[in-house]
Structure formats: C-alpha cells, structure tokens
Amino acid sequence: MTETLQVFWATYNTLVFTVGVHAMLALSIFLTLSCGLLSLGNAAFMGIGAYTAALATLRLGLPFGEALALGGLLPGLVALVIGIPTLRLSGVYLAMATLGFGEVVRVIFLNLEITGGSMGLNGIPMKTQLWHILAILAVLVYGFVRIRRSKIGRSFEAIKEDETAAKAMGINTTAYKLLAFVMGAIIAGVAGGLNAHFTFFVSPREYGFDPAVDILTGAIFGGTGSFVGPMIGSAILAILPELLRFLQAFRLAVNGLILILVVIYLPNGIWDRKLFARLRKKGAA
C-alpha cells in the first residue's frame, strides 16, 4: 500500500503543487474581482515574483523564505505604482489596460540581460515543499474568511455593487481598490516564487496573454460567488488535461468543449451556492 502511495506521490507531486499554485492565483484574481476590478495583470505579477525570487536564490544566495518575501514585495510595489493611474478605469477598459501592462512586462523580461532573455533562468533549486503551499493557502483562506465579515470586505462589496454610491457614502474607493490590487499582486508574486522553485526554470512566455486569460477562466469557471469557487475551478482546469490524457490529440479540444458546456449549463460557475441550495431542497422534498 505504501509502495503505491510512494509511486503516486513521486509521479504526481508536481501536479499537486501546480494545483496549489493555481489556487493561489485564482484567489489573487478573486480578490480584485470582489472589489469590482477586472484585472488581468496577475500573470505578469506572478512573473515578476517568479523572476525576483529566482534571482534572489540564484544570484544573492538568499534563503527561501526571504526570496519568497521579495517575490511578493516587488510585484506589490509595481502594482502600487501602476495602480494609481490605471485604477481610474473600470470594467473592460481596466481589463484591457492590465492585459496591456502584462504584455509589456513580458517583452521587458524577454529583452533584459538579467532575466536571461528568451532563455530565461534555469537551474533554480528545488525548494518548494508541500507544507509551504498548504500553509500559505491556509493563511490566505483564513484571511479571506475574516475579510469577508470585516469593514474591508464590506467596503469591497459596496464598491463592487455601485462605486458611485459607495463614494457618496464616504468610502475611500481609491484606497480600497488600490489595496485589493496590491494584495492581489503580492499573492500572485508569491505564487510565482513558489512555482519557480519546483519547476527549476522560468521564462517570459509563461507570463503573457494566454496564462492571464487562463487564470481568469479558472476563476469564472469555478464561480465568483465566494472564494471557494475560483480555487475549485482552477484546480479542475489544472487537473483536467491529466485526466484526459487518453484522448491524445483531441485532449485539448475536449478541454474546450467542457469549458463551453460548463459555461452554458452552469452560468454561475461550478461552485454555485444557490444551485446547491435548490438541489438540496429538491432532494428534501
């Protein structure tokens, strides 16, 4: 029995870590969504975090904890700087601006000496362990639960519902939006740092347009009613290609099909509390 478990873990531990990291990214985008901000810059922030943490380990020889901290800090600072002008936008415009920012970051990574250009950085030591990911996720989940019932959470909700009204009520919408944006960036950056230290390698292509859209897809797929949805949605989308391996050439096509079906038949995503309530009622009745 333990032999089977050992083989399972040896084969799938990277997948488990990947699911964990995707869950973090889903949370980072959920945070911004819960404040009414559609930000597609998280892939770029993840990239900044990944490169920073990797460079901290490779060039500065810093211990893992400090490397991760830097990996969270730098994206947070960048978010602060670009957030101030960008967060004046809303809706689709904000989404496109953050997407644009992300692409520019990717091209910068591609052209700087220090980031290794298209070759990226390799030979990053394996430092991430399961407990790191679980611990950070636990802290995040705890944080989200607490925020939901706190003043910050209620302010986010108010801004999301109607920003003008919230402002009229005296809520400092700019500060709160910036808070959500920066915190989202920090989470994404830490996720990037973790990812860099179990895949040995980072390169610019992983942090562009497509990954940004993937993160959003995972969150919406899971359902944005609560923080649980995005985590589940991204986990499913991360595991699905593995499960569909037997389909070979048509694996990704089926992936797309599943996405379409879920969107059409489960419009509030997979983790839909109201849907569960209705089903429970039906069951009880």
């Binding site: 083989v7 040896a10 084969t11 799938y12 531990n13 990277t14 997948l15 990947t18 591609l110 052209n111 250009g117 298209s118 070759m119 990226g120 390799n122 030979g123 394996m126 895949t199 040995f200 390698f201 390169s203 610019p204 292509r205 992983e206 290609p241 593995e242 391996r245 070979q248 050439a249 694996r251 990704l252």
Partner: protein
Amino acid sequence: MQRKIVGTLYGLVAAFLVAATAQAAEVRLGVAEALTGAVAKYGVPIKNGFTLAAEEVNARGGVNGNKLVLVVEDEQAKKEEAINVFKKLIYQDKVLAIFGPTLSNSAFAANPIANQAKVVVFGTSNTANGITDMGPWTFRNSIMEADVLPVTVREAVKKFGIKKVAVLYGNDDAFTKSGYDVFKLVLEAQKIPVTSTETFARGDVDFRAQLTKIKGQNPDAIICSALAEEAANIILQARNLGITVPFVGGNGFNSAKLFEIAKAAADNTIMGGPWAAESNTARNKAFVAAYTKKYGAEPDQFAAQAYDALYIVAEALKAVKLTGNLEQDRKLLRDALPAVKIEGATGSFTFRKAPAKAGVDTGYDARQDAHIFIARGGKFVLMK
C-alpha cells in the same frame, strides 16, 4: 518405458522453449515530445522518427531478442507538463530511458527530474547552452551550433567575398537565440562588422519592416537565426523587397519546408549541419525513402536526429545484459551510451563529454562533422 522417456524429452524441450520465450521481454523507452499545440510541428516529426526506427529494429528481432516498446506522451511544450510527463514515465511506466523533450525550455524544467531519478534523458532537439550541464544522465545528439557556425560563416565569406553583414534572429525562442549568441561570437572572432541587428518573434509572419531597414544599410549578406517557417518567409519577403544578397543560416534552415515556401528565392542560401535530405549515403537514402513512404512527407532534420537517437540507444542496449532490476538496468544503459558509435542517417556519430563545470558532473553532447550546404534549384547541395 520408451513413452515415458519421449514424454520427458518433449516436456524438457517444451520447458526450454517456454523459458526461452519468457526471456524475450520488452524494453520500454519513454518518448516525451510536444504533440499538440504550436510546437507540435516539431514534436510530431520527432515522434515519427522514433517510431520508424523502433519498427525497423523490432522487425529485425529487436535488441538481443527484446522488443522495443515506445511509451509516447505529449508534453505540450509546457514546462509543468514536461515535468509531469517525465515523472509518469519514470515512476509509473518505469521506462529505461526518456527521449525528449522538444524544446530546450522544457528540458531545463524536466531534465533535473531525470537526473535526480537517475534515468537517462536523451534530447534530440535541444540545442541551448547548459542542457548537458544539468547532470551526467543528460545526453543529446543535436549537434551544437558552436561547432557548426564558425565553419558556415568562414565558408560563406570565402564563397561570396563578404565584408559586412546584417543580422536577423528570433529573440523569444531559446533555439534561435542560442544560434544568434553563437553567430555573434563567430562574427566577432572572424572580425566581420555588423551593420545592424534586428529581431522578430516566433510565429511572426511579417518581416518587411526589419528587412527594409536592413536593405538601407547594404550588407553583403544577411545572417539569420530562425526556424524554417520564418526563414522561408524572411527570404521570400527580402527578395520581394529587392534584396539580392545571400542568406547565411543556422540549423533551423535545415528543412524541406524552406523550399516549399521560398522556392527559387532561397537559392544561394548557405547553412551548415550534419545532415541534409539529399545526403548521398545509403543509410540516409534508405531512411528518407522509408520515412516518406510511411508518413507521406519528407523527413526534416528533427525526424532524422530522432531516428538516429533511437538507433544509438539500441546500439547501447546491445552491449548490455538486462538484469530485470530497474535501477540497475537504467544505470547499465547510461554507462553503455558514451561508447556508442553508429553510422546514422545523419552520418557518423559519437558522443563527447560536455566540458566540466564547477562542481557539477556533466552529460554528453554530439560529436559529428558539419558539412556546409548551399541552396541550388530548390534543395541544399554540398558546397565545394
């Protein structure tokens, strides 16, 4: 009494035969290549090369009576997938060695896994610097640009009396960027001034802006590090813009696709490599014929190198007596590989240990002769 003796004899023979066939086991080899997604156009020919070679080997009775079984997985050119696939092949499918992955980027992520697990990882399309530095279980037969390009440039200069060049390369792909890095060093070493250096991205189809800029500088030749698709379009667009000077290319040019798109416009293009489809050796002719028959298309360099790689491993396996203990067999294979010499489709091949790096035991690179080819009438011919 006699019946009893005959019966026992038959029994013995039968037992012997059963035992003999029980020895004919299978040897499982993993193939991890990009079979879907944008990179599949390189991964699929590679897979085809392996499959063809394995079939040929098995048709002749396998290696020491063992059939070769390829366990093929799609790594999608994504680093996490490459890692997952490697782990599956190593721990679940329990293969003896892994071929792949397709991109150098994926190799940087997945090869450490193979080295840690003490399994041979054999790249046929990884040409970036640093691949074999990842550990002594890393092998590759993709000849390094650092060996070919100095010869290519020197011969090109001799042939066309080149005084100054312009450089154009793909800056977002490790393969073409590595090629450029080598070209840069070569041009400096051979003291050839560069009028300007322009870049493009993988998947780009329009190069007229860069080419127009280059045209204005009047170089004697254009050094180009690109894959065949982009190279062909670059050449075609250059000719359409009125640029007549020759192109000098790296490894990526080595494909029939270049001529499919560019046709006669590609004439006078120079590139170096160990292999061209027109190479006259019997071995290559047989390979090209077999590949074309089976897959309905001519093989490219990627397919040729994969084909040879399988034969290299088969050759190593011949020298090995498999014990049935996975860990030991993997080590036996690894130890037998460095000494292998074959006459492949791509010519004579041996390994060469990568130069030592501080504190790290290195793997093995290819040692093969580079030939210089020039394009004439829709194909590459040996340049005299």
